[in-house]
Symmetry: C2
Subunit: 233 residues, 2 copies
Amino acid sequence: MTDPTGQSSSWLDPYFCPAGRRRRGPALEQALYSATLGQLAEHGLGAMTMEGVAAAARTGKASLYRRWSTKEDLVLDAVGCAMPAVEDYDSSTGSLREDLLHLLSQMATFVNGPNGQIVRSLLCGAEPGHPLLEMARTRLIDPRLHRLVRLIEQAVDRGEARPGSATPTLAQVGPAIAIHRFLLFGRVTEDDVAEIVDSVVLPLLQDGPRPPHAEPPAAPPPRVDRAPVAQVH
Amino acid sequence: MTDPTGQSSSWLDPYFCPAGRRRRGPALEQALYSATLGQLAEHGLGAMTMEGVAAAARTGKASLYRRWSTKEDLVLDAVGCAMPAVEDYDSSTGSLREDLLHLLSQMATFVNGPNGQIVRSLLCGAEPGHPLLEMARTRLIDPRLHRLVRLIEQAVDRGEARPGSATPTLAQVGPAIAIHRFLLFGRVTEDDVAEIVDSVVLPLLQDGPRPPHAEPPAAPPPRVDRAPVAQVH
DNA sequence: ACCGTAGGAGACGCAAGCGTTTCTTATGTG
DNA sequence: CACATAAGAAACGCTTGCGTCTCCTACGGT
């Protein structure tokens, strides 16, 4: 993908510009965003450098500093451009299972591509409260969570999901498992998506809440005041 | 926690050594591990430096390089020391809910403490296949997953969980959601743990698989061959 | 065709980290 | 107590990145 100097290979880079030629304005800007995202994915937030970005974009540092005075500003803008909006915000296939597969597949495709490493960098390279993490949350996570809740609501109306199951907590389950697998294994496969939907999410949304079993084993207490839980240090 | 030079505050550092005194052998080694973990948590894998570690441990770089020739070796050893073994591997409280709360609370406590930032660094600072990520998986994640499966098996035997629910896929759900919340919000609270157990994991493990509802909505097809799912680019 | 703007290229001095080396001296073992 | 060992401290030359600056020229509008 990149040669030792960090420059993009000409035959693959959509923003490639032959030597001697010059990009200006928006074209250059897009190339800089692209280079920034590449460096972010390759080196992580902490180790990426302005020089690396300039070299990858085949431009000088001056063009960078003319637009953004700090690495934070640059990364914030570049990442903002890479965040895809929720597609088909109000559409539904009419089948809960189809809707879930569709949405999780979109996530998987996004995360399996070059942007996956960027998501990784954002989730982990930035401590809580960092603007980059906030951006990932408000632009990537929250809209999809909201959309999922709506899809579940519609499924409830159709009788496909148990009443009361359209909560953020339950909607979060599928994405959380998908992200978990991505972080551990580097990708989310087609089989992963199907398994998450069929083995976890659908049972959770469809099955009634605690239907009494053959022999109800002294139905576990609804609440217990255990002490040693989750203290922040 | 640290002053501008990265040195540990004397009144808090368990490995503090007054100026003029010298630590040797294992004592020094522990201090170096501690300093390494601190730097790792503070700056991330990419941006931490050997000089920073030496300064934080109040020693010279020579003592570092005498033991580890690269940053990778150092971090690998230091992180290995920080990975807690699974406690009470074979014990069970006799209640599935109690067992789940207990195990997730242990995870939450670990992750809420100073080691949380290290988990973050490992999950995200290292791409798939990196030895550090492998170590996190084999030492932190997998043992707990295995233990969870055993706990669920015991619950199945007691009639507390649905037969067939003791699978790695289902066992993964609780930890995945906990880690997800940790990554997004920086901590996992007592309420989070209780909510995960009571709203997600227990229903999933206890409710029967698709008990026919009032009007079974044309039971969703068990398998569908959707095309555009999760391609690796 | 002209010309003001801004892009590319790279040099600048500075700071930080690298990995090595040297020198002094605290340490704990025999 | 004497001594071999290894710790602390700091300097070494080197590399990389910083942010600024300058020079020259390609670009695109008039």
